[in-house]
């Protein structure tokens, strides 16, 4: 939570997370380049820079698939929450690996000639589709996302604008698939690449379409308020220390939380990244976001000092055993 900015708000989980992520890249690139230099000999030998270029390019694609699957997987099972926690670092790592791939391609394919190396690679004389430009476009998107990944941007651009900017990763993914399909896949005849790319695209798109469908259905089934009050179901359905998510017909979501026997309601949208507060728990007397652990007083909507985050609260009343939430924000709960 934000009181003064640090380079990274380190904690043990982030360190372990980053160590595993960097280790995974090292294992992948190590097996690829090491194996290539040792095992590919004679007619099969591949120039070392091309070997490294391919290792880094495919590694970035594998990482991008993992990054993109974490979101919908965490919507499907809370067991994936630890992967979501530091996903931003994984995204930045993906960008760095892709940048190395592009640097090698530009430095090896684009250099030693009579043109600007970047222009020579991104925009070669050609008749077939510009797959190099697809890759470059994807890299630019990943750059903007990595460059704005710090919490300063999240807070000052507002989580909504920040999330909207970061939707561009979907475009980056589509560009990456085209980069491979119209590039490497055109000359690499092995069905392994075709199958892997098809399986990857189907998994990523399928998971997102499934999760998106579920969320859209929830939004469509939102409750319409009667006389300004929303029926949130039986009051005793929300047990102590836990919360329920109530979807309103206009798509707003409200977290109904029980703390020390009392029912309180606040916006379901965490002030940090818009995480679903109602899927969290009360820990140390605060409703805790399942994404990054931001905390709010269940009935005040304010983070414990020294933190300054707030989310809007709603009044709650109980009528014939059913919890009713006032649609308008504010007011004493």
């Amino acid at each position: 939570m934000s009181v003064g900015y640090r380079l990274v708000q380190w904690n043990r989980h982030k360190r372990v997370y980053d160590a595993i992520a960097i280790g995974a890249v090292a294992i992948y690139v190590g097996v690829f380049v090491g194996g290539g230099l040792l095992l590919l000999r004679g007619d099969r030998a591949v120039s070392a820079p091309i070997l490294a270029m391919r290792a880094l390019g495919t590694c970035a694609i594998v990482l991008l698939h993992i990054v993109l699957c974490i979101g919908p997987l965490a919507r499907i099972s809370p067991l994936f929450a630890p992967l979501l926690y530091n996903r931003r670092h994984l995204g930045v790592l993906t960008f760095l690996v892709a940048l190395l791939h592009a640097t090698l391609a530009i430095g090896f394919y684009g250099a030693f000639g009579e043109r600007n190396p970047i222009a020579a690679v991104v925009n070669p004389a050609r008749s077939a589709p510009p797959y190099e430009a697809f890759g470059f476009g994807a890299l630019l998107i990943l750059f903007v996302m990595a460059a704005t990944s710090h919490d300063f941007w999240l807070k000052n651009l507002s989580p909504r604008v920040w999330k909207a900017i970061h939707l561009a990763v979907i475009g980056a993914y589509a560009l990456v698939v085209m980069h491979v399909a119209w590039g490497a896949l055109q000359s690499e005849a092995s069905p392994v690449y075709t199958i892997l790319l098809l399986a990857g695209a189907a998994t990523v798109c399928g998971l997102h379409l499934f999760a998106g469908w579920r969320e859209t259905l929830r939004d469509l089934r939102g409750v319409r308020p009667i006389d300004g009050w929303i029926d949130a179901g039986p009051a005793d359905a929300v047990t102590e220390g836990r919360a329920a998510v109530v979807t309103v017909h206009n798509g707003e979501r409200i977290a109904l939380v029980r703390h020390e026997g009392r029912l309180c309601a606040m916006s379901n949208v965490c002030a940090h990244q818009g995480g679903p507060l109602g899927e969290g728990r009360v820990i140390d007397g605060c409703l805790t976001c399942p994404w990054h652990g931001y905390q709010y007083g269940p009935c005040s909507g304010g983070s414990p000092p020294p933190f300054t985050e707030r989310v809007p609260t709603h009044r709650v009343r109980i009528e014939n055993g059913r919890a009713k939430i006032e649609a308008a924000e504010g007011g004493e709960p």
């Binding site: 991104v122 704005t148 998106g212 949208v269």
Partner: protein, 122 residues
């Protein structure tokens, strides 16, 4: 010049302006825009520079607004996530169609050209 060459030059010009705006922004502007940035280390400021260079029009707007208001950007509630959820779902639906079409086109191109080559082989 080809369209892609134009785009590359425009991009370079955009980033050059971005760095020119970004350096004073991370040095001084961040403190005006966000009180939490007071006392941020040089490394944090350096880390913010690529983002400032990439989003310099937005950065200028934030900075200008903070100067006008003579205070930091007020905290905004992150509500109204439904349009974003919808945009997210729609964007993936569009991407899935584009990806499927692009993949199908690329695989067809490969199959046809490979067949054409082998059929011509004496």
């Amino acid at each position: 010049m080809s369209p892609i060459a134009w785009i590359l030059w425009l991009l370079l010009a955009y980033l050059a302006v971005g760095v020119a705006v970004g350096i004073p922004f991370v040095a001084r502007g961040v403190d005006r825009v966000d009180h939490a940035a007071h006392g941020a280390s040089r490394w944090v400021r350096l880390l913010l520079l690529p983002g400032a260079a990439a989003l310099w029009p937005i950065v200028l707007a934030l900075w200008f607004a903070a100067v006008q208001r003579a205070g930091p950007t007020p905290a905004r509630f992150a509500r109204g996530m439904r349009p974003l959820r919808l945009a997210h779902a729609l964007a993936w639906a569009v991407a899935a169609v584009v990806i499927a079409a692009g993949l199908a086109g690329a695989l067809r191109q490969r199959a046809q050209s490979t067949a054409a080559i082998s059929e011509a082989a004496p």
